[in-house]
């Protein structure tokens, strides 16, 4: 049993993403990183990454990851036959990578994404950015740039739908499922 209520609409989300792009630019400058490459995590992370990629004017095409094959709960939840192929259209070796996710909660998705990135090559660094960061971390993973940190109650989840228009909803489920 899940109930949903509206949280943020398209224009407000685009404002958040614009703010993130500015902040990423500052962070990259302070880290001394030039010519980073970007990878989005399917599905919501890719929508956010597409806009960030454009705003930052990155040279290399956007990479996309479907981390389904790397989930730590694969044997419990089964394989989704709709897994999209991961595409990283640049050489990962030695690159500074900005990894984009929509909602950072447990950190398990990011763990899986890091594993997959390293199966493509050895990046110089990976910087995590997320549209939404919330509590519930189960792994030592933090985002460097975050669009919004909402306070949520027990059993509430933020869900991004899109890509056009982007829409954030808060879903309330009676019992907590996987994150």
């Amino acid at each position: 049993m899940t109930e949903t209520s509206p949280f943020l609409q398209h224009e407000a989300i685009l404002d958040l993403i614009e703010g993130m792009a500015r902040e990423i630019g500052d962070e990259l400058a302070s880290l001394g990183i030039e010519q980073p490459a970007m990878v989005g995590i399917h599905t919501g992370g890719v929508w956010v990454a597409q806009r960030l990629h454009q705003l930052l004017g990155l040279a290399d095409p956007l990479g996309t990851l479907d981390i389904s094959f790397y989930r730590d709960d694969l044997t419990r939840v089964g394989m989704n036959p709709e897994v999209k192929p991961s595409k990283i259209p640049f050489d990962v070796d030695g690159r500074h990578i900005i990894l984009v996710d929509d909602v950072l909660q447990t950190g398990r998705t990011v763990r899986a994404a890091l594993n997959e990135i390293f199966d493509w090559g050895r990046p110089a660094s990976v910087t995590l950015v997320a549209l939404i960061e919330r509590d519930g971390r189960e792994l030592p993973i933090e985002a460097r740039v975050v669009g919004l940190r909402p306070t949520l109650r027990e059993g509430e989840h933020v869900i991004l739908s899109g890509p056009d228009p982007l829409d954030l909803q808060i879903a309330t489920s009676r019992q907590r499922k996987r994150g």
Partner: protein, 329 residues
């Protein structure tokens, strides 16, 4: 003693998801499309630095081959390894003892080694079904070719190859050429192509090598090659089994080539963008001339590499079945 081939419900769990992969029959279009979609994602793995994903980490897969086959066994082995499973290979000669008993005894012994999946090739039709009926719950069986009955992973890699080149199946005219009668590959292909809804399916070959009831399989029968391939989008050549020559079913290799061998000249009857497929290994100068096998229309080597992705898809789907209480939110 063996299960009747076609007892297909064995393949699906209570939710209609794949448990075993024994035959194309009874699976339905959506399951076949799911396999092709999963294979599409696995195809990318072979292009990476580390050609491995952790989908079946900790699982044990046993290649149980009662009939020799280097190529099929190798692609199954490679598929299992790319999924991070552990693989054991057993090549067993069946000819000696009473087969039913031997098979069960072998099975019990291997199960004691906690095998999660058996990939079975056997000269008897129905052998994979028989094993699937007798394995413990939770153990999956994939048919890697049983007698004249079925070779479903070969058929699915052919479907994958066709989809990669042609996209939609529904407008396609497809011809299968050669020994339809003895071919488990052809039987599985015909079921798959019908389930995927191709526009027209033709079989072409000598009268002695086409089943008399071919019409009931939903195919059009031709005995003349050029007439049969006129206007087709895809030509699937079958391997001619040399042992059939001795059974008076065929005149000679030379004569077969004269009548049913695919040449560049004859290929002109098909559509200009026709693709030519063959499950391998090719008898050059018997089923087709080298100019065709190595020519621009040939997709034969692509079939081999797609075979790995398709087998990864089938194995991971069979071994990652949800029980009803574990459905994701």
């Amino acid at each position: 003693m063996y299960a009747r081939p076609g007892s297909e419900n064995l393949q699906l769990d209570a939710n209609g998801r794949l448990r075993h992969f024994l035959t194309i029959e009874g699976l339905g279009r959506q399951t076949l499309v799911d396999i092709l979609n999963a294979a599409e994602s696995f195809a990318g793995v072979s292009a990476r630095t580390v050609k491995k994903v952790p989908v079946l980490r900790g699982k044990v897969i046993c290649n149980l081959f009662f009939e020799t086959s280097t190529r099929t066994r190798t692609t199954f082995e490679l598929a299992a390894k790319r999924l991070s499973a552990d693989v054991v290979n057993f090549n067993i000669n069946t000819s000696a003892t009473s087969k039913g008993e031997t098979l069960l005894d072998t099975l019990r012994n291997l199960e004691a080694m906690h095998v999660d999946m058996f990939v079975v090739r056997h000269a008897d039709s129905g052998a994979a079904h028989f094993i699937a009926q007798h394995v413990s719950p939770g153990v999956s069986v994939v048919n890697a070719g049983d007698g004249r009955h079925a070779h479903p992973t070969q058929a699915m890699l052919d479907m994958f190859t066709i989809r990669r080149h042609k996209g939609d199946f529904t407008p396609l005219k497809i011809a299968i050429v050669g020994d339809i009668l003895h071919s488990r590959v052809a039987r599985s292909q015909i079921h798959a192509l019908n389930a995927l809804g191709v526009s027209e399916l033709r079989v072409i070959g000598p009268r002695t090598l086409i089943p008399t009831a071919a019409g009931t399989l939903g195919v059009h029968v031709f005995h003349d090659l050029e007439e049969g391939i006129r206007g087709v989008d895809v030509i699937i050549m079958l391997r001619l089994q040399k042992e059939r020559m001795q059974g008076a079913l065929l005149p000679s290799e030379h004569e077969y080539f004269q009548l049913w061998g695919l040449t560049q000249k004859r290929l002109a009857a098909a559509k200009p963008d026709v693709i030519v497929m063959h499950p391998g290994p090719i008898n050059r100068g018997v089923e087709m001339e080298s100019a065709v096998a190595d020519g621009p229309h040939s997709v034969i080597l692509e079939q081999v590499s797609y075979g790995i992705a398709v087998r990864m898809a089938v194995m991971s789907m069979c071994l990652n079945v949800l029980s009803p209480e574990e459905q994701p939110a």
